[in-house]
Amino acid sequence: MGQILQYIQSYLDKDVKVTPGAFGNIYASLFWATVYILVVFGGLSVAVIAMNWLERKILAHMQVRLGPMRVGPHGLLQPIADAIKLLLKEDIIPAEADAFVFWIAPFIVVLAAFTVFVVVPFGPTHAITDMNIGILFMLGVSSLSVLGVVMAGWASNSHYPLIGALRSSAQMVSYEVAMGLAVLSVILLTSLQGPGLGLYGIGAGGQGSGTLSMIGIVQAQQEQGVWFIFKFFPLGLVGFFIFAIAMVAETNRAPFDLPEAESELTAGFHTEYSGFRWSLFFLAEYSAMIAVSSIAVTLWLGGWLRPFPNLLSGSTWDHVFSVIPGLTFLFFAAICFFNTARMPKHPLFKVQTMGLAGFGAVLGLIGLVMFVPAVSLRVGDIFWFSAKVAGFMYLYIWYRGTFPRYRFDQLMKVGWKILLPMGLALLILTAAMGMRTELWAQIQEVWHGL
């Protein structure tokens, strides 16, 4: 027993360089992997709930209105009220629907959206596991959600869901191609450092060869000293641009949300789903958004690396950047306290005022804890990763509030006729830029041989 405790504590050692999935001892590995799984999925659920509230409030403020204000201070308890309502609703299955397929479709979508988080790297050792095929696994499992969408539309035995499911799945499959090409160009970039010549020099330990592992991709950015979005300017930017558009279309969000918009197809493939089943689709949609944002952050924006790791290097700049997590939480706490002071001074608002003050106090406490050096060293990576993903979530909400909807044929045209050729050209140009010295040598050889 004491030995098991010792094994478990050995993972907390500062020098551990692998994720729990690859840690040597089986008991410590199982324990820490379970802890990581619980933390990641708990955090994901909290993030989805927070996204719900944030989306309604930010959209409202963009449309010059206030959003939910009644259920708890500034509507903070609105998502919980929504969740309780959905859980208590009547479970309706259409008459002629195929009950088994109708029941299993939301589970497949949720499974696909949640399993993806097994390889998402929150830090150099903060992933549940680091598979050799990390990015391939993420793309593959997220493509399983198309199956759930198709089955949901078919099993509803009704016209709107069927058309919505066909359109939605056609859109998701089309933009997966563009996503894959953009991802491929980044995978090529990971092979650029080392004594080998990229693809032609595969040495032991991965020197000179690329990698598909998510942690490896961020480490390649760390070694090359530049985020891949700025690599071979503007090629990295174009790749990021293609992926950013494709990921919005992949998750069926505005402006590509024709298959599920209320004014178009009465909610598309999840029309006939109500109550808890609908909340599963909703949960899966937000999780998929966070998952593809994680892919974008890992591949182009440097994952857990703090901004300017090479330009502003050195221990003083490290200290400056390490206080930013704590300052962010203190800033949010200050906003909460400011709004507490602005609450109406009516006796009926006492509970709300105290609730908001308590929320602000919790945020402030977290901020103060983040100032402790031991905590900020281990947790700083997770903070930077989450901050970048949060930026992407804000972009998603911003797109929804700003852009008009694409018509379906325009949508397919963008996916096949614009993004796919761009992705192919990007791939060829990235490969040419990466091998430019060898390419130039070959051209010289041919030129002198003529």
């Binding site: 195929d98 397929v101 050799n132 399983l144 199956l147 078919w154 799945s169 060869s209």
Partner: protein, 177 residues
């Protein structure tokens, strides 16, 4: 190189899932249920590939087979109306002969195995696990490496095959050629 402790448990679990999925594929009346059973079989097979230290093939199986080919099957099943076909007879008139022929094929497999190995093990040197940390890179070496790669030509032919398949599928499914 001891295999992990739970290998037999997972092998039998996945093998059972695959066999049950296979039986469900060939016996269901509803084509969508058959497709779901096939998806289960394919995912269990991807897990078996992971057990065989082949993560890249497992990833390709999930992306292409379960996430691509089965989506195509489900699309087509949805586009053609299957209510009429569900009311018809499911097995054709030669089911007895067909089943006997398939079982004879299985017997042929067993007899070939027994006569060629004559009781010895299949791979007498046993198995050496080189781990899966470099699996993708090693497959890439076999495919693309200038010195050791043998499958570059097959790779190019496969891309030509896919081009032909794209054109063929588009032409076959058009209303007016």
């Amino acid at each position: 190189m001891n295999p992990p402790v739970a290998t037999p448990f997972f092998f039998y679990l996945l093998a059972g899932t695959m066999i049950i999925g296979g039986i469900l594929v060939i016996t269901r009346k509803n084509a969508v249920h058959s497709a779901l059973a096939l998806i289960t079989t394919l995912l269990a097979q991807a897990a078996l590939y992971l057990m065989l230290y082949a993560p890249f093939v497992a990833g390709v199986q999930i992306i292409l087979y379960a996430g691509g080919i089965m989506v195509l099957f489900l699309f087509v099943i949805m586009l053609i109306s299957i209510e009429r076909s569900m009311k018809e007879r499911q097995f054709n008139k030669q089911w007895l002969v067909g089943g006997a022929a398939a079982l004879a094929l299985g017997g042929l497999f067993i007899s070939v195995y027994l006569t060629t190995t004559k009781g010895k093990a299949l791979f007498p040197e046993g198995s050496v696990t080189y781990g899966e940390t470099e699996n993708t890179q090693k497959i890439a070496a076999l495919l693309f490496d200038r010195g050791a790669g043998q499958y570059m030509f097959a790779f190019e032919i496969a891309s030509l095959l896919l081009l032909v398949a794209i054109i063929g599928a588009v032409v076959m499914a058009k209303k007016r050629i």
